[in-house]
Amino acid sequence: MEFVSPEGLRIDGRRPQELRALQCKFGVLSCCDGSALFQAGNTKVFAAVYGPRVADIRGQALHDRALIKCEYAHAAFSTGAARRRRGRSRKSTELAALVRGALEQTILVELLPRAQVEVCIQVLFADGGVTAACINAAMLAVADAGIPVRDMVAACGAGHLEAMPLLDLNHTEAATGGLEVCVALHPALDRVVLLQADAKASVDTLEAVTTLALQGCKAAAGAMREALLQHVRSLAARRGAI
């Protein structure tokens, strides 16, 4: 099966360096402090933020900064074939740790001592780029909750197939087992916060793919920013602040 046709189109009709269509919705859940729905192509992720609150386990509260907790779950129907998962699997712990790591660098934790910010992520459909989508959804939910952050954090994945770097792999492309990179970036500060790469590749290939992923991050950041601004403008207009 060829992943890039001779005309330069991938299996879903995109160009090699084209992101999937991004969609962001805010305030989708009513009981939490902030929530967001992030969709990249078919990958759909919900994120809800509770906090800042008193830490559940008082002993874990930190005296000078907030405690960030992250829970990850994916629906049984999220990956094509429905599979029942019992409790926490290793993959969910790993993904939750990655999202938490990205958020700890983003949220200004010194402003919220003793508090706990809990982020719950639910994947509704996983079609590649799940880690990136989770981080983006968590970022949008945190911004919706009004928790002070250093900068936006935008994540994007990229891969290398048929000697070509491809941006934002979907599930079919990622399943081949080639190089896959996930990068999370602070766009205004231009700093890479999270970087995960899998599968063997030469250093030059890795550099090319990572650079492409960085550009994807910047594009995703722009889209997320536009969505956030529009949401807040409409909120402020309704309350008469503008």
Partner: protein, 458 residues
């Protein structure tokens, strides 16, 4: 960051470390890109265990393998599983019970380095497609945590995998109505019967961890415990010795620029090559010691300077001085093994390459052993043995004085040891091999005679 006892650091210590780093000094006197001293220990009596000491961090890895049915979706591949135990004796931060996030992170790094990057050839672990494959399990125990568990665990696992020897399994060609057992019964040979085989590794992945400080400007390699507590982030690069990257792991932590990341990746590739050299040298020493121990064992048993020889193609041992029963056994065994010689020759992993040009045990570690002398006659008369020994002895002399500790009195023994190490199998140990042979292909007459043969020294 969860509150762990090993990340607590006083502000004075943290400031001291950061201030020293500004002048490119580290608190233990190393330069920013220096590793701590790496020491390897391989236990004398086990073939799949290694203990690595990286400075004060100690990690032990044990490799075991079991022959079982394969996973249904991969009928022609073995499997490789990892388990990382962070025992409470290693650090006050570790608790008994379910593996925490740190253990999971270490386990995932090992999986990505050794399994997902296809470092270990899993298809070579298949013995009988769909029925019997080798399931290899690597247990990594952290004995002492003094910083940089990722690198130490990766090294220990890799060293253990390279030192591991699995028993050779042979499949009887079923059909022909001969055997009572089912078609293609698998025979496991004891280590004394057939030389156990190493795993075949395509490349050597090594983890290299960097600690990132402050604004991502100051970077150190192989952070110690205090440096890791003072660090603002960590980056682990899993690189092979050929300048390829198997995995990158930066789970949060302070942000760094892309150019800085790439620079660190290149440094990691260079460092991985250095560490791999040290690992290979340690394995060479272990291999020599192992062979010498076997010679000592055999030599002690032999009444008549037990010279055991096999040729690379894999026939049977000659025990000179024993006379007819020995010959008969040899003949019987040889007839049987002959049937396997074809299959074993075709498969990778029979004896070491033994060329007059000298033994290169590093080839053994790389796993690409080929049969060097397929056409050699099965039995070497004693004169031939001595001649061969002389050849090998000369080769070894050319190689340089290798240190065979203790025993091996006399040059002949050394040479013979070399031949054994290079050759494929040992002599057939009566009890095991012959019973197995009987199970596969029962014979009459000669079998009875053979059973009466008293083997040397068991």
């Amino acid at each position: 960051m969860q509150r762990d006892l090993d990340t607590l650091l006083s502000n004075s210590e943290r400031n001291f470390i950061l201030k020293a780093l500004k002048e490119e000094q580290r608190i233990d006197g190393r330069r920013p890109f220096d590793y701590r001293k790496i020491q390897y220990q391989f236990p004398a009596d086990e073939d799949g265990s290694a203990t690595v000491q990286l400075g004060a961090t100690r990690v032990m890895a044990v490799v075991t393998a079991a022959l079982e049915a394969p996973f249904p979706d991969r009928p022609n591949e073995g499997s490789l599983r990892f388990n990382v135990e962070l025992s409470p004796m290693a650090s006050p931060a570790f608790e008994v019970g379910r593996p925490g996030e740190a253990a999971l992170e270490a386990m995932r790094l090992l999986e990505r380095a050794l399994r997902d990057s296809r470092a270990v050839d899993l298809e070579a672990l298949c013995v009988l497609v769909g029925q019997k494959v080798w399931h290899v399990r690597v247990d990594v125990h952290v004995l002492d945590h003094a910083g940089n568990l990722a690198d130490a665990a990766g090294l220990a696992a890799l060293a253990a995998l390279m030192a591991f020897r699995r028993p050779e399994a042979s499949v009887a060609p079923g059909g022909g109505g001969g055997g009572g057992g089912e078609r293609g019964a698998v025979t496991l040979h004891a280590p004394d019967v057939r030389e156990p085989l190493p795993l075949s590794l395509h490349h050597l992945p090594l983890a290299v961890t960097f600690g990132l400080f402050e604004g991502g400007e100051a970077v150190v390699l192989d952070p110690s415990l205090k440096e890791a507590a003072a660090a603002a982030g960590m980056l682990t690069v899993i690189a092979t010795t050929h300048g390829e990257v198997c995995a990158l792991h930066k789970p949060g932590g302070i942000g760094i620029s892309l150019s800085q990341t790439m620079r660190l990746v290149r440094v990691a590739c260079a460092k991985a090559a250095e560490v791999a050299e040290g690992l290979r040298a340690a394995l060479r020493g272990h291999e020599t010691a192992r062979v010498a121990r076997r010679v000592c064992r055999r030599g002690a048993q032999g009444a008549d300077a037990g010279a055991l020889l096999d040729d690379a193609a894999g026939a049977v041992a000659v025990v000179p001085g024993l006379g007819d029963p020995g010959r008969a056994a040899a003949a019987a065994g040889g007839a049987h093994l002959d049937a396997l010689a074809g299959s074993s020759g075709a498969r990778n992993g029979s004896g070491g390459a033994l060329e007059p040009g000298g033994m290169d045990s590093s080839d053994a570690e790389e796993g690409s052993r080929t049969s060097a002398r397929p056409g050699e006659p099965r039995k070497l008369p004693r004169a031939g043995l001595v001649a061969a020994a002389a050849v090998v002895g000369g080769a070894r002399a050319r190689q340089g004085p290798s240190s065979l500790p203790e025993q091996a009195p006399g040059d002949n023994f050394e040479a013979i040891a070399a031949m054994i190490a290079g050759a494929a199998q040992g002599r057939p140990h009566s009890g095991d091999a012959l019973d197995l042979q009987a199970a596969v292909k029962p014979k009459s007459g000669k079998r009875a005679k053979v059973r009466k043969w008293q083997p040397l020294g068991t």
